[in-house]
């Protein structure tokens, strides 16, 4: 072991320019980049094939469709009652974002600032809905919601989507609140502000970036959430992704292209959200609660 180490002289610490030069040199680096590019090419193929198909007139056993048309969009719009579906999707998302912030932010404040007996247990309880797969708790949850007559319309969809969203807000907001200097609050308290005034006049303005970030993350997750909405939605409370699933699983009835057109509408909606989201949050935050500092 020692001889192999000696045989290779230690490199000086790699600066970023140095590393870039080494990328060009090593076959392993080429392999890594090759895998990444292969992945992206396939991803592009997956997305582009839906996009091309949605504009194609007839597309059977050829590289590209015979002709191009936009009529599938009009048909999808009418056939799937997309206006109503999009309105429902927006209503559900806005309600879920608003409610989860209202419930989650105060709890995140208490968890960030205070220590009290049982705090770890409470934290674990908040973590569980994120760790469990949606189907596992979704089926008992849907059973309970049906029992109380809440499922099958919008209130059930909103309630079910709140289950992972509230813990998500708590987990993303807690580090934001922790980094605010508690002495600011103490100063406000000393000047006579009550808890409500501290919240509304001192904390909320400071927390706006954090609230915005977690609101957008919840929004993206709610629009994309399939399982919980699927289990609790009735015919007039389907969100776009659930409607897309139903049209796909019954694809024999309708033309493939109009399903593709609907998928493109869904994709573009998600992409708009994504572009907005990336202005405010780091990509890693979309998948994790790890707060990533900007690298210098």
């Amino acid at each position: 072991m020692a001889t192999t180490t000696r045989a290779r002289p230690a490199r000086p610490p790699a600066t970023s320019t140095d590393r870039r030069r080494r990328i060009a040199a090593r076959p392993a680096a080429w392999l890594v980049w090759g895998v990444v590019i292969f992945f992206f090419l396939n991803l592009l193929g997956v997305v582009a094939s839906v996009l091309v198909s949605s504009f194609g007139q007839r597309w059977f056993d050829t590289w590209l469709p015979d002709g191009y048309t936009t009529s599938w969009y009009a048909r999808a719009w009418d056939e799937f009652a997309l206006l109503q579906v999009i309105v429902v999707t927006l209503e559900v998302s806005v309600l879920v974002v608003g409610l989860s912030l209202l419930i989650g932010v105060p709890a995140a404040y208490a968890l960030a600032r205070r220590s009290f007996p049982g705090k770890r247990l409470i934290f674990l309880v908040f973590l569980l809905p994120i760790l469990m797969p949606p189907i596992t708790y979704g089926i008992p949850l849907a059973t309970v919601l049906y029992k109380f007559g809440l499922a099958g319309h919008m209130s059930g969809v909103v309630l079910a989507n709140l289950v992972p969203s509230v813990p998500f807000v708590i987990l993303t907001m807690t580090p934001f609140i922790e980094q605010i200097d508690p002495r600011i609050e103490s100063a406000a308290r000393m000047c006579g502000a009550g808890l409500r005034t501290v919240f509304l006049r001192v904390l909320t303005p400071l927390l706006v970036p954090g609230i915005l970030a977690s609101a957008i993350l919840v929004l993206v997750r709610t629009v994309g959430m399939f399982e919980l909405t699927f289990l609790t939605a009735g015919p007039d409370s389907q969100t776009l992704v659930v409607a897309l699933y139903y049209s796909m699983s019954a694809s024999g009835i309708r033309a493939q292209q109009s399903v593709d057109a609907m998928a493109v509408i869904y994709t573009s909606m998600m992409l708009v959200l994504l572009v907005v989201a990336l202005r405010y949050v780091n990509p890693t935050q979309l998948v994790a609660q790890v707060k990533d500092e900007p690298e210098h």
Binding site: A10, L43, V46, S49, I103, F126, L141, V166, R189, A263
Partner: protein
């Protein structure tokens, strides 16, 4: 700092509680707690008790029914056979790529942004895209045929591989971004110190970076596995839901929404949760054997 208003004397026990950190500010937690109890814990225990009250037979008969029927019992194995390799591949492929990309380079923001796209697309759209792209007349098979790599189209949809690819497409970016954020949390000076002591990159990776990364990898594996384990839409759409990709969530769904047998569906959901928690517990137990302290913060 207690939340009690001025001019209202605290009683003796309120003082005692306040000393331990319990005072009126904790009311802030109450809405969230009520919410979690009402919409998560209560349904969960309701489902648990419901699973012991089957429509026919004794308290355990629904569990016995699941395990005695090989078509149903097999769903556990089918799910694991899809989810475990997919999660492992996603995490293992993410490590070298994230290691390579952890520094700063031009276009890093672009790469990470592009990787977020499949996560936000979700499984339903990925399934639709895979059906078009990997299908017998799709571009992928056309390229293979045109380059004479295969004689006839490879069957990649409506079977195991369709589901597997859909899990890789949505799961790999997820794993990659997590691993990348864990990697950039490791202090780069540690590796430089090892370099000045004469360690080559292989030794630096196996002796410094990998041990510090292991806890993060275990967490990433758990989260990716949870995603893969609850695979549902893609198992129906790009898989073969009657046969080789009849995953356990599909069995639970069919029991609840096609046969309206809620006790049996709850029993399957409980079995599903249990199997998943066992795997996660094993991974987390292994994780606790590694160093889990601070990794030196950001560079």
């Amino acid at each position: 700092m207690s939340g009690a208003g001025p001019g209202r004397p605290l009683t003796h026990w309120q003082h005692r509680l306040a000393e331990r950190g319990v005072d009126r500010q904790l009311w802030l937690l109450v809405p969230a707690l009520v919410f979690v109890v009402a919409l998560f814990l209560y349904p969960f225990f309701y489902g648990l008790t419901l699973s012991f009250q089957p429509t026919r037979g004794g308290p355990f008969s629904d569990y016995a029914r699941f395990f005695s029927d090989s078509y149903e019992r097999g769903t556990i194995w089918i799910t694991l056979r899809i989810a475990l390799p997919a999660a492992l591949l996603n995490v293992l492929a993410a490590v070298p790529i994230a290691y390579r990309m952890r520094g700063r380079f031009r276009g890093k923001r672009l790469v990470t942004t592009l990787l977020v796209v499949p996560i936000t697309l979700g499984t339903v759209l990925t399934a639709q895209g895979l059906l078009n792209f990997l299908g017998p007349t799709g571009w992928f098979n056309r390229i293979l045929l045109a380059t004479n790599l295969v004689e006839e189209p490879v069957r990649l949809t409506h079977n195991y591989w369709g589901v597997f690819f859909s899990l890789v497409i949505t799961g790999f970016p997820f794993a990659f971004l997590l691993v990348l954020s864990y990697l950039s949390g490791i202090d780069p000076t540690l590796e430089r110190a090892a370099a000045t002591l004469g360690a080559d990159w292989r030794r630096r990776f196996t002796r410094i970076t990998l041990p510090l990364l292991m806890p993060g990898l275990a967490t990433t594996f758990c989260l990716t596995f949870v995603l893969a384990f609850s695979v549902f839409p893609s198992a129906v759409l790009v898989g073969n839901p009657a046969g080789e990709t009849r995953v356990i969530s599909l069995a639970a769904y069919q029991a609840a929404y096609e046969r309206y047998d809620y006790p049996y569906a709850s029993a399957i959901a409980m079995i599903m949760g249990f199997v998943e928690l066992v795997i996660i517990a094993v991974v987390l137990a292994a994780r606790s054997r590694f160093y889990t302290g601070s990794t030196g913060g950001k560079g």
